[in-house]
Amino acid sequence: MRILLAAPDRDLLRCYNIILDEAFGETVTAFDGTHVLALLADTDFDLCILDRDLPRVGHAEIRKKLAEKGIPAIVLTNGDAEQDASPEALPEALVLPFPFSPDEMRAAVRLATEKGTEPVNDHE
């Protein structure tokens, strides 16, 4: 499985790159929205894990692109899980609010790729 992990924090990218690589295969990281769109343009991904506060290009635009390509998404949020889980705010998104553990991240990836991308909040 090829996963695109996009977040502005490089420490988060570094450690979860390793964790997701070990659990699911290849992981590609990006630290801003422009980088994400560039990667989406020329690479196929099975899943995109996206920080809601990604700089330069908003998550909504990126998610529109993901929807066009039929790529499921997990959106990492800063605790506004209830708001973010609403279909209007993030249609067909799986929301994972900070803080989460590697186990929770792995469970979220499995859920997003195996069961589809209906809005859930598995942190609470």
Binding site: D9, C15, I19, N78, P97, P99, F100, P102, M105
Partner: protein
């Protein structure tokens, strides 16, 4: 307008109303008392002069036969403390202005003589009937505005009745003006205090908003580092194997996660929309205590409960559950002896009490409801937020809560 502002406004307007009403009541009662005393002086004077003032204008005698008439000279307007002003009791005008009659009754209560009759509103026959009906009391009011006095002389009973309508009319006007003024003052004070309250509470609301914003920001700032620490701990354990240090890091991350969740609750409550419903606080408390039974047992604490059945409250069920959890969590952290939880209804209030031994000095300790405040030697993991959250919930439900320590026993009392 928030709840605190509403409470301030209601209390302040109520205080203005009560204060003004008491003040106006005192003024009106004093005024009426003075009129009564003045009337008593007049009736007493007439009675002392055998039933009349003396000679009426035009030379017509108004004096009871066989009685002496007081001389009319030496008028002193300040006599009687000046209460009558220029119309003092010795005023020569008094005879012309006071409307009264005096009827003499025999032993059987039959009117035998009209001693004086200087009144137009009452006929002589009516005056005799009134007099016959008034002998049971020495003095008092009759027929609304008439003050009377009953005296004995020469084997007869003299009933003197003075019409005080003219004196009472201004006092009725003052009473009506007072009532209208009272209502107007309440209306005006409502609008003035509303304006004052808005200005008064603005800095407090701003401070509260700032505090919640700070907490919300702090909460968010904690979340990402905790996620990264947690992930790196797993990577460290995979590389080097778990050891005391990584286990310690996990424990601390767990504590920080708890703190983050509490901070989130603090920053959102009570702004987040409560969904009040009739819920059984008895069931919530029992369920929470059942869930915590193992943790109490692990600490060697027994829990004594006195929970009345079907104590229902109209409140947000999630908030009530959280309140029960926080109270139990607090007892688990701080209790040094067995724990008691009591729940009952008293009148229209619900009382929830918990007691346990705590190593704290005696006295009230309501400061434990302040955010980030712990007392004594706070145990590991204490955040000082649990009871602050309880306070927010209780106050959002218009309840009250107090805490105190007596002889080493910590008591927390919530009235909803």
């Amino acid at each position: 307008m928030n709840k605190a502002q509403k409470k301030f406004l209601i209390s302040a307007v109520a205080a203005v109303f009560v204060l003004l009403t008491v003040l106006l009541a005192v003024i009106n009662v004093t005024n009426f008392t003075m009129i009564s005393e003045d009337a008593d002086r007049i009736t007493e004077m007439i009675a002392n002069r055998s039933g009349s003032f003396g000679t009426a204008p035009g030379g017509q005698s108004q004096t009871a036969p066989g009685s002496s008439t007081a001389p009319n000279g030496g008028f002193d307007p300040m006599r009687n403390g000046g209460r009558f002003g220029p119309m003092g009791l010795d005023s020569p005008e008094l005879n012309a202005t006071v409307r009264y009659f005096t009827i003499a009754l025999d032993d059987s209560g039959k009117a035998v003589e009209t001693v004086a009759f200087r009144i137009s509103a009452v006929t002589e026959e009516e005056a005799k009937e009134w007099a016959a009906s008034l002998v049971s009391e020495t003095t008092g009011w009759t027929h609304g505005t008439y003050r009377y006095r009953v005296t004995e002389a020469n084997g007869l009973t003299y009933v003197t009745v003075v019409d005080q309508a003219r004196e009472l009319l201004p006092s009725y006007r003052i009473l009506i003006i007072s009532a209208v003024g009272d209502v107007l003052a309440v209306v005006i004070s409502y609008f003035v205090l509303k304006g004052v309250g808005t200005r008064l509470f603005a800095p407090l609301e701003e401070a509260d908003r700032s505090q919640k914003k700070f907490i919300a920001n702090a909460d968010k700032e904690f979340r990402l580092p905790l996620t990264i620490i947690s992930a790196n701990t797993e990577l460290l354990e995979k590389t080097h194997g778990p050891d005391d240090q990584t286990r310690s890091i996990r424990r601390q991350v767990g504590r920080m996660n708890t703190l983050v969740e509490k901070l989130r609750s603090m920053s959102l409550y009570p702004e987040e929309e409560a969904k009040p419903a009739d819920v059984s606080l008895s069931d919530i408390l029992r369920s929470a205590l059942d869930g915590a039974a193992e943790r109490f047992a692990a600490k060697g604490l027994s829990v004594e409960t006195a929970i009345a059945d079907d104590v229902t409250v109209h409140a947000d069920p999630a908030a009530m559950t959280r309140m029960a959890d926080e109270l139990i969590d607090n007892a688990l952290r701080y209790a040094t002896t067995d724990v008691t939880f009591r729940l009952r209804r008293e009148g229209d209030r619900i009382l929830l009490e918990t007691e346990n031994g705590a190593a704290l000095p005696d006295g009230p300790c309501d400061q434990i409801f302040d955010r980030f405040t712990t007392l004594g030697n706070a145990p590991e993991g204490a955040t000082g937020l649990g009871l602050a959250y309880v306070k927010d919930i209780v106050r959002a439900s218009d309840g009250r809560l107090t805490a105190s320590v007596t002889d080493g026993t910590f008591s927390l009392r919530i009235a909803l």
